[in-house]
């Protein structure tokens, strides 16, 4: 099957799960509710499903980008430290009492971009921009950000600490349409940048020397892609907290289907990520029937992503060969 047809199928898959997810709610389940939507479906579920789709798209596309930039199949925004930076930015905002839905993402973006830049410049400055060093630096940065987050959690009131804890676990809530529009806009800008540079990403994957030899402005292109991916992560973390592993699982499944060509992989990851997250969030809503309380969606993505990461790690020779 050619790649175009696969992409269309992926789009159909997203549409299907999107419509079915509208039927899954904490007050009733009727998979065909989209055929006769009532007010609950339109005003309470639709915004939530849209948010899930946007979050998934952003996480998967930024995952693909980080994997290309760091030339490492295990790079995920959660793993390379950018989510940690975004969370830190968001928590600083929460502590300062910022609750505005327009300013909070800005803080998270600054955190994400700050951490991306810090990792990037440190790597260049120390002359260690090889994938392994970048990944290691990300891990260390994440641990550092995690410690700062814990520090902040310790000094604020118990209720605020609780709030931060829940947010860090990853949550998809109901946001007003204006917020969704804002998030969509952030993601659109970043996606355009990434799709425009998708061919350059293909060359960057070959390695620094080859890219330079082919006449690619590696530094500025890397920087642009890094910032665009950081923008995605910042916007997503601001609304959904730390949802892990989406940026790892989705790109890998898609690489099997589309190969390593980023001109296909990026649009595919936007669609596939959205679909994955819509399903995960619908599952999160279903847990309410079992437990009378909702399991954070970050826990569900981790349940699938954790084992997936380990399998990938054990088969890493084959995966590296794919690049």
């Amino acid at each position: 099957m050619n790649r175009f047809a696969t992409l269309i199928l992926l789009g159909l898959f997203l549409t299907l799960v999107f419509l079915l997810a509208l039927g899954v709610g904490t007050s009733s389940v009727d998979l065909f509710a989209f055929l006769r939507p009532d007010e609950i479906v339109l005003r309470l579920r639709l915004p939530r499903v849209i948010l899930a789709a946007l979050v998934g798209a952003g996480l998967a596309a930024s995952g693909v980008t980080f994997q290309a930039l760091l030339r490492n199949p295990l790079a995920d925004p959660y793993i390379v430290g950018v989510s940690g930076g975004a969370a830190l930015g968001g928590i600083v905002a929460l502590v300062l009492g910022v609750t505005s839905h327009f300013i909070l993402p800005a803080f998270a973006f600054m955190g994400a971009a700050g951490s991306a830049l810090a990792i990037f410049t440190l790597a260049r400055w120390s002359g260690r921009s090889d994938p392994l060093s970048l990944l290691l630096m990300g891990v260390i940065f994440n641990a550092f950000a995690g410690a700062l987050v814990t520090f902040v959690k310790t000094i604020v009131s118990a209720t605020k600490a609780q709030e931060i804890l829940f947010w860090l676990m990853g949550v998809i809530g109901v946001e007003p349409m204006s917020t969704l529009l804002g998030l969509g806009l952030y993601l659109l800008v970043a996606s355009i940048v990434l799709v425009l540079f998708s061919n350059a990403l293909n060359i960057l994957v070959l390695g620094e020397e080859k890219a330079l030899a082919l006449g690619l402005e590696t530094t500025s292109i890397r920087m642009a892609c890094f910032l665009a991916a950081a923008l995605m992560v910042g916007a997503v973390v601001a609304f959904a907290g730390m949802v892990g592993f989406v940026g790892l699982v989705v790109p890998h499944i898609l690489r099997r289907m589309f190969g390593a060509d980023h001109r296909w992989l990026l649009p595919a990851s936007l669609l596939g990520g959205a679909g994955f997250m819509v399903v995960a969030d619908a599952l999160a809503r279903l847990t309410f029937y079992c437990f009378g309380t909702e399991i954070p969606v970050g826990v569900i993505t981790a349940f699938t992503g954790g084992p997936f990461f380990l399998i990938l790690f054990c088969r890493k020779d084959r995966m590296f060969a794919a690049h």
């Binding site: 609950i40 005003r43 309470l44 609780q162 829940f166 809530g173 109901v174 009378g292 309380t293």
Partner: protein, 278 residues
């Protein structure tokens, strides 16, 4: 099936007994480190506040606690700062710091009392126990009886009208509410409220659809956020009736969040504010 099993375990609540760790306490306890704000408040209202030498960073009442040395929080009380204060009694609740840490303090030669007070029944027993321990048995009994009597009066007054279907919110994003096993749940009746959340443990997390589906008549917001912030959160929720949106009760101080001596007084003033009669 799973849910009914879970509900069984959550709904069965034993009345826990006080536990002693470490050496026997001296006949007269002189230096107390209190690891729970509710316990601190109890000691102070038994007029033995000057025996308290250390508290957690969450202690807010009475004024005097603000200048006392802080020894950490609920989950992270610091053993070294506790031991350094040379207490002859560490007063804790079952959730403070974890059993291992409490045993460790006991091994350092300090008596540790783990005094459960997570239900009303346990609170009454804790007041009596603490009173005996501090040589204030008579006062403690009087205090406990007054609290019980006033609570009864409130419950009787409330039972004259149908209880309002209530959601108790403890966090907004995500929405965390008081479940059937929480302390808050046990005194809602005295406020003329009935918790509509019947399962999900102490603090279930629910989404807006579930919230609307519960059809609450009243929202009791215990997030301790500003009135403005609380109102703007609830008013923005789609599909919740205007009647409910006009019935947002915003808790202003932490008295009701703590199973301590200020509880009944706090309930009384809130009852007055809600129903305009004692």
């Amino acid at each position: 099936m799973i849910s009914s099993v879970a509900a069984f375990f959550i709904s069965v609540q034993f009345m826990a007994a006080p536990i002693w760790l470490g050496p026997k306490p001296p006949n007269e306890v002189k230096r107390i480190v209190s690891l729970a704000p509710s316990m601190t408040e109890l000691v102070f209202s038994l007029h033995e506040g000057d025996r308290v030498v250390g508290v957690t960073r969450y202690a807010t009442w009475p004024e005097a606690v603000k200048t006392l040395p802080k020894v950490g929080g609920f989950i992270d009380p610091d053993i070294e700062s506790i031991v350094r204060l040379k207490p002859d009694l560490v007063l804790s609740i079952p959730t403070s710091g974890g059993a291992d840490r409490m045993r460790q303090i006991g091994k350092m030669g300090v008596s540790v009392l783990v005094l459960p007070a997570q239900t009303l029944e346990e609170l009454w027993a804790a007041i009596d126990f603490l009173g005996e321990l501090l040589g204030r048995g008579v006062e403690a009994k009087a205090m406990r009886q007054t609290m019980q009597k006033e609570l009864d009066l409130l419950e009787k007054a409330s039972s004259r009208r149908p209880a309002k279907r209530t959601i108790v919110a403890l966090g907004h994003r995500p929405l965390v509410v008081a479940g059937p096993g929480s302390f808050v749940d046990s005194f809602l009746g005295a406020l003329g409220m009935r918790n509509v959340v019947m399962r999900g443990g102490n603090f279930p997390q629910i989404d807006l659809e579930a919230l609307v589906d519960f059809r609450p008549e009243l929202i009791f917001d215990m997030t301790l956020k500003s009135e403005e912030e609380v109102q703007s959160f609830w008013q923005a929720i789609p599909m919740m009736g205007q009647d409910t949106k006009n019935n947002i009760v915003v808790l202003q101080d932490d008295a009701l969040l703590r199973p301590g001596p200020r509880l009944v007084q706090g309930l009384k003033s809130l009852h007055l504010q809600l129903w305009g009669e004692p």
